[in-house]
């Protein structure tokens, strides 16, 4: 018995060691590399790369696409989660499969379908030209692609929470005469607020970092249709490594902030759940 517990302790620390080594090599080291490479030639060079005109424009475009994606997916997520969890209807399974579809499609294919819808060979292309609307190789295309790749991120966080909560409370409120929005605000929302916040964080993270789909639709016009990840690609391919890593470090910091928010949200959410119990 004694040797058994000694053996199990050894196994425990070997497995923990393997885990830390793996996470360090695969996840932490790349982060350190980005920071180290970006500061390789001193802080002045770093600051210059970050304050570059095209970098600032790329930051602004990235934020624009992210705000649009979060806004549209929030509206969609709330209504879709309400429809899917508070009512019974035919085709529910199909509807939820369709909502999840965008994350299973390769980002390149996501870009391709928007090119086919709005591009030169599309049946509606003459109409778009007449109205002077540019979508492919322009900002609207980038925003559409970003919305597509982050589409289910918020609804997917809300649906399990609402499903677990059931419909009894809402039914009781409705029978007592409460209006739809009041029911949502007073009864439903308190249950989902942490899941909702987490969904927004995930959606924003993915929106800022999307590369493939945006790459197809962007046309790579510097200062016009270049998002941060695309700007990184251009710099890297031009062998401007220090600026490429400097711009990347902005995205690394955003990623770290997101991970911290995620942990906080998860922690508070869990504590509240325990308090209710």
């Amino acid at each position: 018995m004694h040797s058994e517990s000694k053996g199990s302790k050894a196994v425990k620390w070997i497995l923990i060691g393997i885990s830390f080594l793996f996470v360090f090599l695969m996840l932490v080291l790349p982060l350190i590399t980005v920071i180290a490479e970006s500061l390789q030639q001193g802080f002045a060079v770093y600051a210059e790369a970050v304050a570059d005109e095209y970098t600032v424009k790329a930051v602004l475009l990235t934020l624009e696409a992210t705000v649009f994606a979060v806004a549209i997916n929030t509206v969609f997520g709330l209504f879709a989660a309400w429809a899917l969890t508070k009512f019974r209807f035919k085709g529910k399974k199909l509807l939820s499969t369709l909502i999840d579809l965008p994350v299973t499609v390769s980002p390149i294919i996501a870009g391709l379908i928007f090119v086919l819808t709005f591009g030169r060979q599309s049946p509606i292309y003459p109409l778009l030209q007449e109205l002077d609307i540019k979508i492919v190789f322009a900002v609207p295309g980038i925003i559409l692609a970003t919305i597509f790749v982050t589409f289910p991120f918020i609804s997917r966080e809300l649906i399990p929470v609402l499903e677990a909560q059931g419909t009894d409370e809402e039914e009781a409120a409705a029978l007592m005469g409460a209006k739809g929005f009041t029911i949502f605000r007073r009864i439903t929302f308190p249950h989902i607020k942490w899941a909702f916040l987490y969904g927004i964080v995930l959606c924003a993270a993915r929106a800022m970092g999307e590369f493939g789909a945006v790459s197809v639709l962007s046309g790579h016009l510097r200062g016009k249709t270049n998002t941060l990840p695309l700007h990184v690609e251009i710099l890297f391919n031009e062998f401007k490594y220090v600026p490429a890593f400097a711009v990347s470090s902005i995205l690394v910091m955003m990623a770290i902030v997101i991970l911290i928010i995620r942990s906080v949200v998860e922690y508070i959410g869990k504590r509240e759940k325990d308090n209710v119990r």
Binding site: E4, S8, V11, L15, I16, I18, S19, F22, V23, M26, L27, V28, P30, L31, T33, I72, V75, F76, F79, A80, W82, A83, K86, F87, R88, L95, L101, T104, V105, S106, P107, I108, I109, L112, I113, F114, V115, L116, T117, Q121, I147, F151, E170, A174, K179, G180, L202, A205, G209, E210, F211, V216, P229, V232, E233, F245, V252, A255, I256, S263
Partner: protein
């Protein structure tokens, strides 16, 4: 009961209306345009496109690298989930938080960081170069990038199932004199197997379509390290929409097949999760 349910809680029409409208604009219409475009294509033309030797070689590269990376992730994912659920040790929360990094870090940033680490001049690449092993710009490099991308899928699939697992069976097996290795394979593994397959399937699907992190590290040599999404991308850059669509159809078919299998497994998985305590 069904009808009463519908009438009591308000907002069915509104929420369904908004859900379906946004879903149509963002997902259904673009996907439909892919179908419309395909119906205008000649079946012989599609077949000759997807059987070009360079395209076939890219299928092989994508499939093999995604498979190996997902297998590595399946093993490491179980180890990480096990360590995070079963053991207590310093920095556990940090380790748990880091797992989510690939979701938060833009793929392009991961791509250039891993490339600079594993190139012959990099920290890890330099070490392996002494033994004549090249990582960046080979298939090994692609696998490294895909392991990075896929790891959270397996960990996050296995973790909740391990948490719900009833320890009394293990204890019973231990009391009856089974060795720990035997307990793991005979008692624990059958319980987490569906979750491992789900995580493996999700990671595999994601790896097949991955673009951002791979283009930097792959070197993109035709027949050697050229992945399928990259071929679609280059067809698009040459405005050859017909070829791009034909190859995309094959990828879509494979990812739907994976999704279908994962769903089948998840139905069984849900039973286990519900059947727990």
């Amino acid at each position: 009961m069904k009808k009463a349910n519908k009438r009591v809680i308000p907002g069915f029409g509104l929420s369904m209306g908004i859900t379906i409208s946004i879903l149509s604009i963002v997902v259904l219409i673009p996907l439909a345009s892919l179908v419309v475009f395909t119906t205008g294509m000649d079946i012989g033309e599609i077949l000759s496109t997807i059987t070009r030797s360079r395209v076939l070689a890219s299928f092989e590269v994508s499939f093999i690298t995604a498979l190996i990376a997902s297998l590595i992730n399946a093993v490491m994912g179980v180890v990480l989930a096990w360590v995070l659920v079963r053991y207590d040790f310093p920095c556990k929360r940090l380790l748990d938080g880091m797992i989510e990094l690939p979701f938060a870090l833009p793929t392009a940033v991961a791509g250039i960081a891993l490339t600079s680490l594993t190139a012959d001049t990099g920290l890890i690449g330099g070490f392996f170069a002494q033994f004549g092993v090249k990582i960046a710009y080979t298939r090994v490099g692609i696998i490294v990038a895909l392991v990075f991308i896929g790891i959270p899928f397996v960990v996050r699939a296995v973790q909740p199932v391990l948490e719900k697992l009833d320890a009394s069976y293990e204890e019973a097996a231990g009391v009856l004199g089974a060795s720990r290795t035997r307990i793991f394979w005979k008692v624990i593994f059958p319980e987490i197997r569906p979750a491992v397959f789900t995580g493996f399937g999700l990671a595999f699907g994601r790896c097949l379509g991955e673009y951002g992190s791979v283009v930097f590290i792959a070197g993109n040599q035709p027949y050697e390290t050229e992945i399928t999404p990259l071929i679609i991308m280059s067809e698009l850059q040459e405005y050859d929409y017909a070829s791009a669509t034909a190859i995309a159809l094959v990828m879509l078919l494979v990812s739907f097949l994976i999704l279908f299998l994962v769903n089948l497994i998840q139905i069984r998985n849900a039973k286990i999760l519900k059947g727990g305590n």
